[in-house]
Symmetry: C2
Subunit: 341 residues, 2 copies
């Protein structure tokens, strides 16, 4: 790679000036007294030689690499990770930085390795990302420099970026109230583990809280709450069937995520009920399947791209210690209608 690249010395020689002069001109240093002609000669020489600085050499002196480490626990298992990374990549490019990406797979040994690997490469800062919104403790090794937590918080008071799950909960509840749903709203996806252990999830509790708050303000309480061991389609399916076997049929269903909603759709289809005429469905995440479902599923989008972007901005500009919340926009789709009758 990069054999026979021109060096600064080559440029200087060709311009008939010293390395010092060439360096100063190319870095646009203010206050140097180099002549306009010298500037021209350096620029011309650099242009002709296709000069590009060797960043390894530069960073040896300046201790800046224009490189950010993106350390995450698990990227592959969730389809959202791509958006997180994309947002970070975009913001990084805008600021002339580049991303060194590593994955720990939740394994302490791998994490240790990943962190050493990026620190050895003198990265300017670390974005420590979690794929499920949760609380975690960051390894001490990275505390020597700037760190931003992405989709996570820590007890250390480090700057962090989180989706506004509580706001999304309020938003979802408000959307149903607005349509006239009141006493027949059921919830699918309660989960003690997710709600009670912030190291597992912060989203479940926040969403639930937001929903309850807005319903409470309208003096409405939930018709039913189904617990699910996981937030997967099969659990949504089972929960929906359970709900339909009860005497009072719900007019609207809130699912804690789109995969549950997908399962709920399957159960509704089998029961011969149509969405949204018989039952409205609304959910969280905006998984790609939400738009593919028939009818398309209303949901609040996890703003992963925005979050990725924000994390880079926070890292490079320095950010406040309190978590930076990113709004989860409501995607109004076909699965919403006023209650029947």
């Amino acid at each position: 790679m990069g054999r026979n690249r021109a060096t600064l010395a080559d440029v200087a020689r060709r311009a008939g000036l010293s390395k010092t002069a060439a360096s100063m001109v190319l870095n646009g240093r203010e206050g140097t007294r180099l002549s306009a002609e010298a500037h021209q000669r350096v620029f011309a020489a650099a242009e002709e030689l296709g000069y590009r600085p060797n960043l390894a050499a530069r960073s040896l002196r300046t201790r800046k690499t224009a490189t950010i480490a993106f350390v995450s626990d698990i990227v592959a298992t969730t389809r959202f990770a791509g958006d997180l990374i994309r947002g970070a990549l975009d913001a990084a490019r805008e600021r002339d930085h580049v991303l060194l990406i590593t994955e720990t797979q939740g394994d302490a040994t791998f994490e240790q390795y990943a962190i050493e690997a990026v620190l050895d490469r003198q990265v300017d800062g670390v974005i420590y990302a979690a794929m499920a919104t949760r609380r975690l403790t960051v390894p001490a090794a990275i505390l020597g420099g700037p760190v931003v937590l992405l989709n996570a918080t820590s007890p250390d008071g480090l700057p962090s970026v989180l989706p506004d799950d509580e706001g999304a909960g309020r938003c979802v509840a408000a959307a149903l109230l607005e349509l006239g749903h009141r006493d027949a709203i059921a919830l699918i996806g309660r989960n003690r583990l997710k709600e009670d252990d912030p190291e597992v999830s912060l989203a479940a509790r926040a969403r639930l809280h937001g929903i309850r708050q807005t319903l409470g303000e309208a003096d409405v309480s939930l018709l039913a709450e189904c617990f699910c061991a996981e937030w997967l389609p099969e659990h949504g399916y089972a929960a929906m069937r359970a709900l339909l076997s009860k005497p009072k049929r719900p007019s609207a269903i809130i699912c804690m995520n789109d995969r549950l909603a997908f399962g709920a759709y399957q159960a509704l289809g089998e029961a011969g009920l149509t969405v949204p005429e018989d039952i409205s469905v609304i959910s969280f995440d905006d998984d790609p399947i939400a738009a593919w479902l028939r009818p398309s599923l209303a949901t609040t989008a996890l703003p992963h791209e925005q979050m990725g972007r924000r994390s880079v901005e926070l890292l490079l500009d320095g950010g406040a210690a309190e978590p930076s919340l990113v709004a989860m926009p409501l995607r109004r789709r076909q699965s919403l209608a006023p209650p029947a009758g």
Copy 2:
């Protein structure tokens, strides 16, 4: 980041030896005549100081960075990208390398920028990845060093990694034949653009070829072939409805990808037909929804993780010029059954 890290000079001083000695010991150089005691002292000093070499400094001298660039056109829009990256990350870690990831978004300016950014950082090689299997021309700038094409080929005869779509086509056809399907197999997802322009897709043509070949060997030809403008659920839905409106109902459907199959499921559901009793469905890709569908969808998996891994191996070990094909395993699921009657 990395303030007050111990340097090699610190280690040497503490061990009471020269930098040269320390460097040689820590690099495990053979043939040096340093005493066992010197070795011990260096190791001890390094351990005590928590010494880690500064890779920027090292690579300035050695022109090796143990860093690989992963340049892709678009990562975010496809859920598969994560697997490609994960495989590459795993293989890279096993070989003590790290990945610098950039994205061009199919934009020439961004691509130029991305390539300069990674070359400036002296990467040891470039993995040039495409998110849709296709043919492309790589920018001349990266030809100065090792390059591997991932999910793509180029006319330059560079080493490349591709999924075995043709094999998958054969495999899909064979699975149906094996169950007894013969004269009522229909295909959803023909697409001229994808089939005829290798710069758009190599998969469509290869899959079709594989299917035709195996069916042909059994003297079977397709009952119908539906063209689709895109491979999205809505197109699969429309195609399935069209098929069902014809006099002869198919006994099995091959969809060119899982999203089409998802749409086909929706149409089958509406028509009151059940999978697999009335109609078998089989597909390509192994999108996560394939496993979530009811009944679960049989499909051939795109081996993205394997491919990512292979690309790193090829890059570091040097690879043959002919494309390295990675098998697409068949996932047998509930959507397959012998033809009715």
